[in-house]
Homo-oligomer: 478 residues x 2
């Protein structure tokens, strides 16, 4: 059968061609399909179910912290986009422009939102009047468009899904706290739910968001040593608010400008999951977001009682786990490969002998460890094994990141590491964008972040030798 053949075909090993390995996985695990629209993808059911799980976890966390969901228009009038100078400079070159509605040319062009600060500010200007109206803690789940030249599934696409939180506060202090709080939500989500270790830090001025005073980021390291910016949180001060004339009566009955943040995480994190946990057998999914957590495979399913037992276990487990039975007539070997490709964390095998003994077999996807489990203790065993998966893949990723993180004391050292060792480089920096430019030019690396956890490696900038301001991570990035 065509389907069978397609799926047992091996994927390109990552050591051979990492980019092709990635592409093979997104296609063969049926996460996405290319569409007829350049740079826009079809997210297929299995891929979208991962995003739905990500969304549900984050959405619950946002709401627990008092955030509310809203919906803003998908279009931004050109004049609105232009209100904040740095912002328009950053985004105007990469937006899609709507110029006609039906057969009529529009008086003013509309861009398809690349991000929605301007729309939120336009709304906030109408609804914020008093300190009693603050804070405003809004979030929106939507897709946005950036006219990227080169695109890759999930990692960089013309249209992508994300959430964007946009908040307004009485004081700068409160807004700064919100910026950090939401970065911590992302970091905690990545580490505990996605099992992706991240470095928290601040972006340099060169790398920060257009219009922001400060951008905080979480950076993860992929299999190939490249960094992936996994989530960002921005502090705007009152710059946008002033540009949009947002003003409120403060507690002293005086007009005041509020302080603003925004923060976002996107479908790009699915690319991060693939490139952190995947292996040469396919996807490896963290249990918290796996569409199927346990796949039940009946062994010798034609024998009496096997399928019934499989269905019975499914019905028993489905209240606690995302579980499915594959009762198709494919061979067990085919099914093993299929669900390894799809990254299902646990495989549950049940055959006639197991039934006799009142047991089943649980096999972990990431290390293929096998345990025999008495059926009466199945729920506890699955919970424990899913936790083993989470810890196991986290540890693996953390060890890899540590073994691929280097320290450079001077430019020659940094250049040599960058040329020969994929990974991240820690080095001191003076804070001058000229040195950033030079490192990019000479060693091909960009600044990833100035981590909150600083180490004092030396007193001087790795590039110019002047007094250093901050230890900074450098590397190649997605």
């Amino acid at each position: 059968m065509a389907d069978q053949k397609k799926l047992v075909e091996a994927i390109t090993p990552m050591e051979e061609d990492f980019a092709q390995w990635y592409t093979d996985i997104v296609k063969k695990a049926e996460l996405m399909d290319y569409s007829g629209v350049r740079g826009c993808m079809v997210i297929e059911p299995y891929g979208f179910a991962i995003w739905e799980n990500i969304r549900d976890i984050l959405d619950r966390r946002f709401k627990e912290l008092g955030h509310e969901n809203v919906s803003m228009p998908m279009f931004i009038p050109e004049s609105l986009l232009q209100k904040e100078k740095d912002h328009v400079e950053g985004f105007a070159p990469e937006v899609a422009w709507v110029t006609h509605g039906g057969s009529e040319e529009l008086e003013e062009r509309l861009c398809v939102r690349p991000t929605s600060e301007t729309l939120f500010c336009d709304h906030y200007a109408r609804v914020i009047h008093s300190w009693r109206d603050l804070p405003k803690l809004y979030n929106q789940w939507c897709s946005v468009v950036r006219w990227e030249k080169t695109t890759r599934p999930f990692l960089r696409s013309v249209e992508f899904h994300w959430q964007e939180g946009h908040t307004m506060h009485e004081t700068a202090q409160e807004a700064l706290e919100e910026t950090e709080r939401m970065l911590n939500v992302y970091a905690d989500f990545c580490e505990n739910d996605l099992a992706i270790p991240v470095i928290k830090g601040r972006k340099t001025d060169k790398e920060k968001f257009s219009g922001a005073e400060a951008t905080y980021t979480i950076e993860a390291m992929m299999h190939d040593g490249k960094a992936l910016q996994a989530g960002t949180s921005h502090y705007f001060g009152d710059g946008f608010a002033r540009a949009f004339n947002i003003s409120f009566q403060n507690r002293e009955n005086k007009p005041q400008t509020p302080f603003q943040t925004s923060w976002g995480m996107s479908t790009r994190i699915i690319g991060g999951i693939i490139m952190t946990h995947g292996d040469n057998n396919g996807l490896v999914l963290p249990p918290a977001v796996a569409p199927i957590q346990v796949i039940i495979l009946p062994i010798a399913q034609h024998k009496p009682g096997v399928l019934d037992k499989a269905y019975e276990l499914r019905d028993r487990l489905k209240g606690s786990f995302r579980v499915r039975v594959d009762d198709s007539d494919q061979s067990p070997g085919w099914k093993f490969s299929q669900y390894e490709m799809k990254g299902v964390p646990l495989r549950l095998e049940i055959g006639p002998k197991d039934i006799e003994k009142g047991q089943c077999v649980l096999v972990r996807r990431h290390d293929r460890e096998k345990v025999f489990v008495p059926l009466e203790d199945l729920e506890n065993a699955i919970t424990a094994q899913l936790e083993e998966v989470r810890k196991g893949i986290y540890e693996k990723a953390l060890q890899r990141r540590e073994s691929m993180t280097y320290t450079a004391k001077n430019l020659d050292e940094l250049k040599e590491i960058a040329d020969t060792h994929p990974g991240l480089i820690k080095a001191m920096w003076c804070g001058d964008p000229a040195c950033e430019e030079k490192l990019k030019e000479v060693a091909g690396v960009s600044s990833r972040c100035m981590p909150f956890e600083q180490e004092h490696l030396s007193d001087t900038c790795v590039c110019c030798g002047k007094p250093a301001k901050a230890m900074t991570y450098w590397g190649k990035a997605y």
Copy 2:
């Protein structure tokens, strides 16, 4: 305080100016805000929470029936839109066109999706090969754009949120069953969750979806007697599939074209909720989708123990109901008006005397009926009262619809009813679009649907006197 003043201000009575009453509610219940983009609205937290509840209920039902969520691009290349002749004729005049990406003019214009049949077909052509790939039962939650000239919040906007299901089947029979099944899901959701009585039927050829063979609809009647199309389900036969060269190997190993459906419900249903249940005190929300089902109002809250009791009740109830305490320093009278405006189904009052007696007061929003409830029986009482609300508002809407539905035997009768009595008119029809045109011209009514539950009113068409084919509902519509 400015806020207080704004909210206790009465709204325009619906008898005086129905359109203004509607606008007052959407604004004063804080469902939406007008945006700077013509015809596009900001859906504020309270309005969006209603949509999230609608989405969650429908999404669960779709998934129980085997549907899977996906994401298609938001853009459609012009050539793709043109593949199905009737479809492009129907939609091309009302789409937004993207002509530039960044500073470059595109080689081919892209429209912002007005609906996604073409995108789904384009994908299906790539992934459907064998009868084993069928049925495909996909759904997507997104927003779409139609360049409407005149817009009204929720009822008709340039951008609106909806879900669109798109399915492919081996046989026409299966696809027809799906079309009906999904119409029934919508009807059941409207009647049981939203408490909106609906008429199920088929659209005439003139009113059907561009490109469909048959469109089924559910029609609801609003306070002012106008009809609202609340959800539609379309059967496409194999028309689109042929236009898009979708073909599969059937069970006899022969190439065959699959059969298709699509079905959608949108944020317009929020307009339907407002105009079915709302009254001159504001919104009335059906409990299933109300963001707050029970608002707890502490009475004499400065007295010792009152606030604590209110919080205790909230914490006790919050696992079972969507519940909130208003502990602000506004007066009880202000709070009563506020939550009536917001349509909260039940108000729970608790004061010092109630606490002494171990009771509280529950007041139903829609009829202001008051019951005293012993605190030990509170959960049961709330469940029972929410069910009373649901039944009560459903019955009220049904009685109104029945009292505003008329029968016409000839054109003069129909015209007179249409001129003098807002509502729906049942009349026999020959099936000729010319008669539809004439009724529109003469009496200002359009065909709403040919209901599945037919009545034989007479043998001849109300318009031309030729033999009748179907009893049809006629009326003015949103």
